[in-house]
Subunit: 512 residues, 2 copies
C-alpha cells in the first residue's frame, strides 16, 4: 500500500533561484554531493530548506542535486555555499564561483524504485532511468540504500538483471576491438593474495590471444590487482595507450579507473558494502557490465567458495553461476564460471609488493614459487585457452607455456609496453608471528588476515602486508613462525601487532 | 541469497582507541551523527578509516556511532574531531573535551534487518533490538533507509506491527493516569487547516472526560496543532505541569516534544518522508505508539481521504483502518477510525494564528465561524463521547455543549491552566489573490495551498499563512478574491506570490 508523504518530490515547486558563492571546504563525503549553507541564510529561510533536504546546485550549464547540511556557526558567510569534494568535482568549480541554489526538480526514476518496493517489476526503461540518475548524482545515499534494499527484497529476474547490466554498460565508456576473440577473467573478491591475473594474462597473451585486462585498486582489501601490478609497471594508461599495448603484445594489466567503464557500479558497490547487502542481481550486473563495457567476448570467472570467503555456500555459488551464465548469453558473451577453493589465501604474500614477488616467482619458475598460485593460474589460463578453442587440454598448454619461459618473456614485454618494468619495493620493518603451541593449522581467517595486512599499511604502503609461512593442514612446532608482518614504519607494525595480540583466531593451530 | 561484503560489520575488530579533541563545528545534520576528521590524521591512517565509514566516538561513559567525513583542508587540526550538532548533543560535549575514536562494535540488530530483506519475519526480540539501536543513534541514514524499505517491500503482519508498536512505546517515556477512561484523538496528516483538536478537547473535557492531548509542531506543514495552540496559550509543559492541568481541567492541548513519547518515531518519520515510503505497518506503529505512550484508553482517528491528501484511495484507507483497529485491540486501546472528506482544507485560515482565529470563532459561536470546522469538530468529539459511553447521539451532545458556551468556558480555563490565554498575532502584509476568470471552484490542491502558506512564512511567522475565501463548488466572478496571503514581511509575501504566479493549479476555477 502506498501512502504519500508530505515530502513527495512530485510536489516540489520550482521557486526562485538564489545566487551564492562557492567555497571549497575540503570535505570528502565519497560520492555523495553535500552542500553546507548557513541556517540563518536568506536562501534557507526563503525556500524553507531544512537540514538534510535535497537541493539543486547549478554552475554554468552543469547542475547537481545535493544533500543540504545547515551551518549554525560562522565558518561560512551568509552568501557562501561550502561544497563537498564530490560536489566540487562534478560542478568543476573554482573558489568564489557563482552558483545558483534552488529546489531540485523531481527525480523521475525514484517512482520506479518505489514501484519495485511495492512489488512492481522493473521494465527496461525504468532501469535505464534509474542508472542514468544514479550516475548523474541525483540519488542521495538514502535513495541508493532504498534501491539496493529493494533489489534484494524483491530479487531481480533474469530479464531485469539483463536490463540493469545493459543500462550500466550504456552510461559509461565502451571499448571496441577490431579482433576476435577478446578474452577476459574475473575473480569474485574476498580472498587475500589471490593474484592470478598477471600470470593468466601473460600465459594467454603468450598463446597469441587478445586479453585487455582492466583491474581495480583495493577498496576494502589489502591489495587490488592494479595495486600489485603497479609495483611492477605503470598501470594508469588511457584508452589510446591501452590500444597501443594490445596491438603490440595482445595483453595488458592496467587500472580500470582511467577508463570510465560502468561508473554506476562504482557508486552502488559502496552502499552495498555498507549495508552488507549484495544480491545475485547486483553482483551479476556489477561483474558483467564491466566486462561487456571492456569489449570482452570470452570470460572465465574465478568463484572462490569458503567459510570466510565472499561466497560461503554451494547454493549461493550455484545461483550466482546460473545468473552469470544466463545474462552473459544475452550479450553474446561466452562465460565459464569455475568454483575454486576459498578456504585460505592463495600464494604467500598479501599486500602489493609481496604479491608481486609471488607472481614473479611463478613466472620465473623459481623452485620456491607458491604451488597453489601457479596451479590456480594455469587452471584459469587453461580454461580461457579452451574457451577460445585453441586447446583441448588447456591447463597442459598453460603449464608448458609457463615452464618454457614464454609467459615470463611475454610478461616482461607487456611491462615494457606499459611504460617500463619496475622492481617491487621491500619493507624495512618486519615481525615474525610465532605459533603459540604445536599442532596442525586448522583455520586461516581470510578477513582477519587481510585486516592485519591493512593495519600494517597495505595497500598505500606498497611493501607492507604479510607473508604466510604455513597453509591449512601444515604441522607446526611451538614458536615456529606462522607469518611475517611487513611494514614501512615501526608504528604501523605496532598497529598490526596490537590487532594480532587481540585476535587469537587469525590463524588457528589445533592440537594433534 | 546472501553474499557477504568485505565490510561485513561482524568482522570489525576492536583495534586501538585514539584520543582526540572535540570541536563544535556547528553543522546541523538532523539526527545523523557525523564526525569530521582530517584524512591525513593519525587515526584515519592507522585504522584505515575511509570517508563514510562508521566510527565509534566515546566521551566519558557516553558513546555513539557516527558517520565519518574526511577533511582534506586544514580547518581542523590533526588531533581534532569536528562533530555535528546531533553528535555533540548526544555526547554532551564542551569544546576541547577529550573523546576516544575507534572502530564501532557490531550493530547486532542490523542482521535482523538483513534477514527481513531476505524474507525472514521479524520476531519480537529483533524488533526490540532494532528500535533500541535506532534510538541510540546506531543507525546511519543508509541503515534507516534500508530498514524502512524492507518494511515496505516485506509488509509487516499484525504481530510484527504489534511488536514494533510495543518496542517503540518501551524506548520512550510512558504516561500513566489514575483515572479511566483517558480519551485521545489523532488526525492523519496532509490536510491544511484541519485544526479540530482544540475544539474537540474543549467539548470532551467540558463533558467531564479526561483528554490529555499532546500534539506536534509542524515538520513539513504550515502549522501543527502545537503551533496553532501556542498562539493562544503556552504549550511547552513538562509532565508534572501536564498532570496539574489535567487534574484541574480534565483536558490539555500541549506540545508532545517536551515529553519524550516514542522517540524512535521522530527518527524514522524523517527518512520515511525523504523516501516517500510510508507503509501501513510504519504508520500504524507511528500513530499508536504515541497514543499508547500517552496512556490513552480510547482513541478516535480522523482519516481524511482525497486526491491530494496523504491517504488517496478507499483501499488504502480500509487497509490502514484494519491495521489500526487490530493493533489497538492488542494494547486494550479502544479505537474508532472515521474516514473524512480530504478533498479540500478545513476551515478558512491556514497558518498558526489564522487557524487559531477559526478555532476561537467556532468556540465563541460567531455567526461567521467556518461551518465545516465546526461540523467536523463536533463529529469527532461526538465519536469520543459515544466511545466513552456517555452519549448515544454523541454529536448532538457535542453541538449542545458548544452552543451553550460550556466548550468555550472550558477552553479558556484550559488556557489559563496552561499558563494564561494569549491573543493570536495579526499579519502586517496581505495580498488577495483574484480569480483569473469567472466560474466554479473545481479543485483546491492541499499540498500547493500548504506550500503558499509556508513560503509566506508559516509556521515560524505565527501570523503568516493564508485565508481561503472560497470552497469547492463555489461560484466566483472574475477578479473576485479567492484567498488572501498573510505575511510578516514584504519579502516573504513576494516569495509566496512568485509561487502563486508560477502555479496555476493551486486553486482551479472551471467554466460553467
Amino acid at each position: 500500500m502506498t501512502i504519500r508523504g508530505e515530502e513527495n518530490p512530485m510536489d516540489r515547486p520550482d521557486t526562485d533561484m538564489h545566487v551564492m558563492h562557492a567555497r571549497r571546504v575540503g570535505i570528502d563525503t565519497q560520492y555523495e554531493a553535500v552542500v553546507f549553507i548557513r541556517k540563518d541564510s536568506h536562501v534557507c529561510r526563503a525556500e524553507g530548506f531544512t537540514a538534510h533536504t535535497r537541493i539543486r546546485v547549478q554552475h554554468g550549464r552543469r547542475a547537481i542535486n545535493a544533500t543540504l547540511y545547515q551551518v549554525t556557526s560562522d565558518f561560512l558567510h551568509h552568501d557562501e555555499a561550502g561544497l563537498s569534494e564530490a560536489a566540487w568535482r562534478r560542478l568543476g568549480l573554482t573558489d568564489g564561483d557563482e552558483i545558483v541554489v534552488s529546489h531540485p526538480p523531481l527525480v523521475e526514476s525514484l517512482s520506479s524504485v518505489r514501484g519495485k518496493v511495492y512489488g512492481r517489476r522493473f521494465d527496461e526503461a525504468s532501469l535505464r532511468g534509474i542508472v542514468r540518475d544514479v550516475v548523474a548524482g541525483q540519488y542521495s545515499d538514502i535513495y541508493l540504500s532504498s534501491l539496493i534494499t529493494a533489489c534484494s527484497a524483491r530479487p531481480l529476474d533474469l530479464d531485469e538483471m539483463t536490463w540493469l547490466t545493459r543500462a550500466m554498460v550504456d552510461v559509461g565508456e565502451v571499448l571496441q576491438w577490431p579482433m576476435r576473440p577478446v578474452m577476459d577473467k574475473h575473480s569474485v573478491g574476498g580472498l587475500p593474495g589471490n593474484r592470478t591475473t598477471p600470470i593468466v594474462v601473460a600465459i594467454v597473451a603468450a598463446c597469441g590471444l587478445v586479453i585487455p585486462k582492466t583491474s581495480s585498486r583495493a577498496i576494502t582489501s589489502p591489495a587490488g590487482t592494479a595495486d600489485t601490478m603497479a609495483t611492477m609497471a605503470p598501470v594508469d594508461l588511457d584508452i589510446s595507450a591501452i590500444r597501443r599495448v594490445i596491438e603490440r603484445e595482445g595483453g595488458c594489466i592496467v587500472w580500470g579507473g582511467a577508463v570510465r567503464l560502468s561508473p554506476a557500479d562504482d557508486i552502488l558497490i559502496r552502499v552495498e558494502r555498507a549495508l552488507d547487502l549484495d544480491s545475485e542481481g547486483q553482483l551479476v550486473a556489477s561483474v558483467l557490465s564491466k566486462k561487456i563495457a571492456a569489449g570482452s567476448t570470452h570470460l572465465v570467472v574465478d568463484l572462490p567458495v569458503g567459510p570466510t570467503a565472499k561466497v560461503r555456500t554451494a547454493e549461493t555459488a550455484a545461483a550466482l553461476t546460473a545468473g552469470l551464465v544466463a545474462v552473459s548469453k544475452a550479450f553474446g558473451l561466452e562465460t565459464r564460471v569455475l568454483r575454486t577453493d576459498g578456504a585460505q589465501p592463495v600464494g604467500r604474500g598479501i599486500g602489493p609488493a609481496l604479491e608481486a614477488r609471488d607472481v614473479l616467482a611463478v613466472l620465473q619458475n623459481h623452485v620456491a614459487a607458491p604451488a597453489d598460485l601457479r596451479d590456480k593460474s594455469t587452471m584459469l589460463a587453461g580454461a580461457l585457452l579452451e574457451l577460445a578453442g585453441i586447446a583441448k587440454e588447456g591447463q597442459v598448454l598453460a603449464v608448458e607455456v609457463l615452464r618454457d619461459g614464454r609467459a615470463w618473456r611475454k610478461f616482461q614485454r607487456i611491462c615494457e609496453a606499459q611504460g617500463g618494468m619496475r622492481v617491487p619495493p621491500q619493507s624495512c620493518c618486519r615481525y615474525a608471528v610465532p605459533a603459540a603451541q604445536a599442532g596442525r593449522v586448522t583455520g586461516i581467517n581470510n578477513r582477519k588476515i587481510a585486516r592485519v595486512a591493512k593495519l600494517a599499511g597495505a595497500p598505500d604502503a606498497k611493501a607492507a602486508g604479510l607473508d604466510l609461512h604455513v597453509r591449512l593442514g601444515d604441522r607446526v612446532e611451538i614458536a615456529q613462525p606462522l607469518y611475517t608482518i611487513h611494514a614501512d614504519a615501526p608504528g604501523e607494525l605496532d598497529y598490526a601487532l596490537a590487532y594480532v595480540q587481540a585476535n587469537s583466531d587469525i590463524l588457528t593451530v589445533g592440537d594433534t
